[in-house]
Amino acid sequence: MVIAGKILAALTLVGQIMAGGHEGTGHEGSWMDKWLLSYDFGLTIWTIITFFIVLAILKWKAWGPLINALDKREEDIRNALSSAEKAREDADKVAEDYDEMIRKAQAEAQKIVAESKSTGERVREEIKVTAEKEAGDILEKAQKQIQSEKANAIQEIRSAVVELSLQAASKVIEKNLDSEDNRRLIKETVDGIGKA
């Protein structure tokens, strides 16, 4: 309580001194007046000069390089981001192209398979037709050959029969009948045998 009272008293005193000032100072008027009215214009000029020197040096040596560095970094980051974006887009495009390629290859493969199937079918068909035709030809040829062989054989058999008949007849009649008339006669007979 005592301390509180003392603080109160002191604050009142300080307040009085600072507000009025006349009681406290006594000389050269109020210090408040001196404080507010004395104007040291030199300091204002010095402040402006000093500030501009500081500004010039800092702009030249500190802020300029700092701002450039920050701007450059910002620019770099922006570029890096956009190039990353571009790289991603490129990769997407490549992947798309790749997919497209695979799709195309698959389609191509299917087409090739289908084509070869149809080609195979056709070739098979052709071969079959050719084979059948060839077989027919061979058969026909064989039949013709058989026919001619048969004709030949019959002719040969006839000749042989004529010869044998002549031999047999000559033996039978012990007479050489090897004349042109006899031969013709026998031939006619044999021909008649073939026809009988």
Partner: protein, 269 residues
């Protein structure tokens, strides 16, 4: 640190928050103006040196190699630059003008912040001549705000042309009698904005210091050690508060400057 010129508490406080014009390191005069090197000018140069040193050292990597990776201090500068560009300059001034105004706005922030913080280092009280906080001096904040004032005009003139900028001060689509009121308000507003910047920064940086000195004066006034302990605890808290205030005021000055510059550029009435 008692002031030899004034034995009163008010004098002590005044000494701690103002620039002692009677104590100059070098008497200088230019065109009739008193350009003497006072403690605040020294602190201003110190802040400038720290600002330039930190920024130039922190961004050395980027001067050597534009593709440098952030490391150590350059992290902070990258964060700061990104924050100022993305959250202050681009929304208020616009992307197309970002390149022109970002260096100014960034320099505002870091320079004011370092001035504020240098003022909070008690060791600079050993340097004779009064307060250590340059930004607590209205004359210095007038300097900073007048840069904003001219930047607004330059920004407006760059966008709309010199006469176009002044024409933008006249609001369109309002009856003539209203213009009689609006034009003075616009012109007043032109001066009020930097004035508000001046006062906000200066008063905020002064107020904390006045508060801290006043609280430290309590145990002396009351001749009491326990109150001394209390005042130390209190001031420790206020010190942290002041650090936040330093950040906030640097941010507010920066933000409002860019808002005002943006308003001049996007003056579509």
């Amino acid at each position: 640190m008692p002031d030899p010129h004034s034995g009163s508490l008010g004098g002590v406080i005044l000494h701690h928050v103002t620039n002692d014009l009677n104590h100059t390191f070098l008497e200088l005069s230019f065109l009739g103006m008193d350009m003497s090197i006072t403690k605040h000018v020294i602190m201003l140069w110190l802040a400038a040196a720290v600002t330039v040193g930190l920024a130039v050292w922190g961004t050395r990597r980027y001067r050597k190699d534009i593709d440098a990776q952030p490391k150590g201090l350059s992290h902070i500068f990258e964060l700061l630059m990104n924050f100022i560009r993305e959250d202050i300059v681009n929304p208020n001034i616009g992307l197309s003008y970002s390149k022109i105004w970002t260096p100014l706005i960034t320099t505002y922030f870091i320079f004011i912040l370092i001035c504020n913080f240098l003022g909070m280092i008690p060791f600079f009280d050993y340097l004779p001549g009064g307060s250590t906080t340059v930004t607590g001096n209205f004359q210095a904040t007038v300097g900073l705000a007048s840069i904003t004032f001219f930047s607004i005009i330059v920004a407006g003139s760059m966008k709309h042309g010199f006469f176009g900028y002044w024409k933008n001060m006249i609001p369109g689509n309002v009856p003539a009698p209203v213009l009689l009121i609006l034009i003075p308000i616009e012109i007043l507003g032109m001066f009020v904005r930097p004035f508000a910047l001046t006062m906000r920064l200066g008063a905020n940086m002064t107020a904390g210091h006045i508060g801290m000195v006043a609280i430290f004066a309590l145990p002396i006034l009351l001749k009491s050690a326990p109150i001394g302990i209390i005042s130390i605890m209190l001031n420790t808290g206020i010190y942290f508060l002041e650090m936040i205030v330093s950040f906030v005021q640097a941010y507010v000055f920066t933000l409002l400057s860019s808002v005002f510059i943006g308003m001049a550029i996007h003056a579509e009435h």
